[in-house]
């Protein structure tokens, strides 16, 4: 473990940690940006960095963007990310009552606790799950890929069919290029650039970043839209109580532990992200308090519960990602691209042969949560100024970063063109209600499914494929999980509606 700490304390890793934390907070504070876009935008920047520094930066972005979004949720009633919706409910009420600082203090302490708790869960649970992955080969990976593809529905909100459709689009995109078993070139139309298929990062930048900017462009031209940045109430006071004292912290510790556990479990569930986590944490706070009348009218414990849970979700989402290559959320699906880009293949090898890289990344993630809280404490009163930066000043900067990032991967203008085209496609997908995150899963898992299926065909010898699969217990396990995943979106919607309605 000492060696892993030493790897974390390298100058490039510490710089990456600091940058990831600061940039993540800034992006989280700006409504409409979000962790997924932050990660896709920063992946090209990390390309030339070492794997530990890169993944520490990307992991920091995820958790700190979630944290940053709580500031606008509390001060402007505008959640910076969907994970902060529950925080806005009581956080903004506290601001109106002159207790903005107390609300910010609760979010800082809750996010710190939840983030570190999630990181520790990742540190201790993931290696155990990874041992299970040692028994996987072609047939198991085929069913893991199918299972991963079926969770696409969970990422799709109210219309799972559209999510499956974009997942299939991802399969189609992934099929472009050289077929892995025969070397045959599919859908390249003679272009050498497509021999290895579409490079992931330009596609991601188009679908997540450029498309989002086109949506923002449309919003800015809607009558009544705020295009000069969020307006901050000049009457907000930053005085009075800030942080919980030791006695209050100990009193609220059971709530934070429960919210942390729930957050980690929700993070592990593929497709259940921070938005569900924050409502479950909020609900847990309400459930465990005798006087429930203040909830919805400025109850600090509501902020504490939701922020603890939504930051614990981030750590939980990494567990299936690192152990089996199944992203627990849309943002972690994008982060998987970063892992693969740096040669870190999810599975058992991450905790054995590549442990010298994986454990520093996990420790870096935990450190990011601590650094995030420290920075939050220092700049709590001032950081909200970031939200005042108008979107029409940010948009050109983001576009430039997206296109230059796209170029920097292969130093190819073709990739820039890919980003621009997928940006346009992504805009239409968003407008028509098709989620973009499943495309990432489709591309990655489609290649895994095809490769594993071919490997299974080679392994089955005289048996039929179905007989071969059914003779392997782990295949049965993932087959059952796949069936469960098909019904998961329905269950998640019921859970979400029940939790939200019980708090309205």
């Amino acid at each position: 473990m000492a060696a892993y700490f030493a790897a974390l304390l390298q100058p490039d890793v510490l710089l990456a940690l600091l940058l990831g934390t600061v940039i993540g907070m800034a992006i989280g504070i700006m409504p409409g940006m979000g962790a997924t876009m932050a990660i896709s935008l920063m992946i090209p920047v990390t390309y030339k960095m070492g794997p530990v520094a890169s993944l520490v930066m990307l992991a920091s972005l995820y958790t700190t963007a979630t944290f940053g979004g709580s500031f606008t949720a509390i001060l402007l009633h505008t959640p910076g990310t969907s994970s902060n919706a529950a925080t806005a409910r009581d956080g903004y009420e506290l601001t109106k009552q002159g207790h903005a600082l107390e609300a910010l203090g609760m979010t800082i302490q809750g996010s710190l606790f939840g983030g570190v708790f999630g990181g520790l869960a990742l540190l201790f649970i993931a290696p155990q799950l990874a041992k299970l992955a040692l028994h996987f080969s072609g047939p198991e990976y085929f069913f893991i890929a199918i299972f991963g593809l079926t969770i696409i529905g969970s990422l799709s909100g109210d219309e799972p069919i559209k999510g499956y459709a974009t997942g299939v689009l991802g399969l189609a995109i992934g099929a472009v290029g050289m077929e892995q078993s025969t070397g045959y070139l599919r859908y390249t139309f003679g272009h050498l650039r497509l021999m290895n298929g579409f490079t992931m990062v330009p596609v991601l930048l188009g679908l997540f970043t450029v498309s989002q900017m086109l949506v923002q462009l449309e919003r800015m031209n809607t009558p009544g839209a705020i295009e000069k940045g969020q307006v901050i109430d000049p009457n907000i006071t930053f005085s009075g109580k800030f942080l919980m004292g030791p006695a209050e912290f100990l009193k609220n510790l059971p709530l934070m532990l429960r919210a942390g556990v729930l957050g980690v479990l929700i993070g592990i569930l593929p497709g259940a992200g921070g938005d569900i986590g924050s409502w479950v944490g909020y609900n847990e706070a309400k459930r465990s308090t005798k006087d429930k009348t203040k909830f919805g009218h400025g109850e600090p414990l509501g902020v504490l519960g939701s922020e603890t849970a939504n930051n614990a979700v981030c750590g939980g989402a990494y567990i299936p990602l690192l152990t089996m290559g199944i992203p627990g959320s849309g943002a972690s699906a994008v982060l998987m691209t970063g892992l693969i880009m740096h040669g870190l293949v999810p599975g058992a090898s991450l905790f054995t042969e590549q442990a010298d890289q994986t454990y520093p990344i996990i420790l870096g993630y935990i450190a990011a949560n601590i650094l995030m809280a420290v920075i939050g404490l220092i700049v709590a009163k001032k950081v909200i100024m970031v939200a005042r930066i108008p979107m029409n000043a940010i948009l050109p900067i983001v576009i430039v970063l997206a296109l230059v990032g796209s170029f920097s991967i292969n130093r190819s203008m073709f990739d820039v063109g890919v980003t621009v085209c997928f940006g346009f496609i992504g805009y239409f997908m968003r407008k028509l209600g098709f989620p973009t995150a499943p495309v990432v899963l489709g591309i990655i898992l489609g290649k895994m499914a095809e490769r594993s299926l071919y490997s299974s065909i080679q392994m089955k010898k005289g048996a039929t494929l179905i007989e071969f699969f059914m003779g392997r217990p782990l295949c049965w396990l993932f087959f059952i999980l796949t069936i469960a995943a098909v019904f998961a979106p329905i269950l998640m919607n019921i859970l979400k509606k029940r939790v939200v309605n019980s708090n309205s």
């Binding site: 399969l171 077929e179 859908y187 450029v210 029409n392 489609g446």
Partner: protein, 144 residues
């Protein structure tokens, strides 16, 4: 009450047409390489049909919220913005990155109704300076 064609009808139709073209091309591949694309094609047709049928139902319903999610009034701004972005990408490949960016940033800011010349110039120079430092000096990546 005038009925609007629900956007899902168009989306489903596009999916089916795409899938048919995709599958037709795949039929020209040898046996092993065409299996997966044909599966994708069938899946896309199936899902496209479900979305299209759902769109027809929504069109025929009396739900007054069945309106197009894309209005021409707003869409023209998106088209114009996209044209500027595409033009920037083209310029990047012809007159190289930094000159193209020096042109693009003010153009886009003016299009987005920022009129303060100092803000425009400072943003343009600061962004180009930062990108030069980040990519050329720190990451040692040669830009176009």
């Amino acid at each position: 009450m005038k009925k609007h064609l629900h956007a899902d009808v168009i989306a489903g139709g596009i999916m089916i047409v795409f899938a048919l073209i995709w599958g037709k091309i795949a039929l020209g591949f040898p046996e092993i390489p065409r299996r997966f694309p044909l599966f994708v094609s069938v899946a896309f047709i199936f899902l496209g049909a479900i979305i299209l049928i759902g769109g027809i139902r929504k069109t025929n319903s009396n739900d007054e919220k069945t309106v197009s999610p894309i209005s021409w009034t707003k869409f023209k701004y998106v088209i114009a913005g996209f044209a500027i972005i595409a033009g920037y990408a083209f310029l990047m490949g012809t007159i190289h990155f930094f000159p193209a960016t020096l042109i693009f940033v003010p153009a886009m800011m003016l299009y987005l109704r920022i009129r303060n010349p100092i803000q425009i110039v400072l943003t343009d120079l600061a962004l180009n300076g930062f990108l030069y430092w980040m990519f050329i000096i720190m990451l040692k990546i040669k830009l176009p």
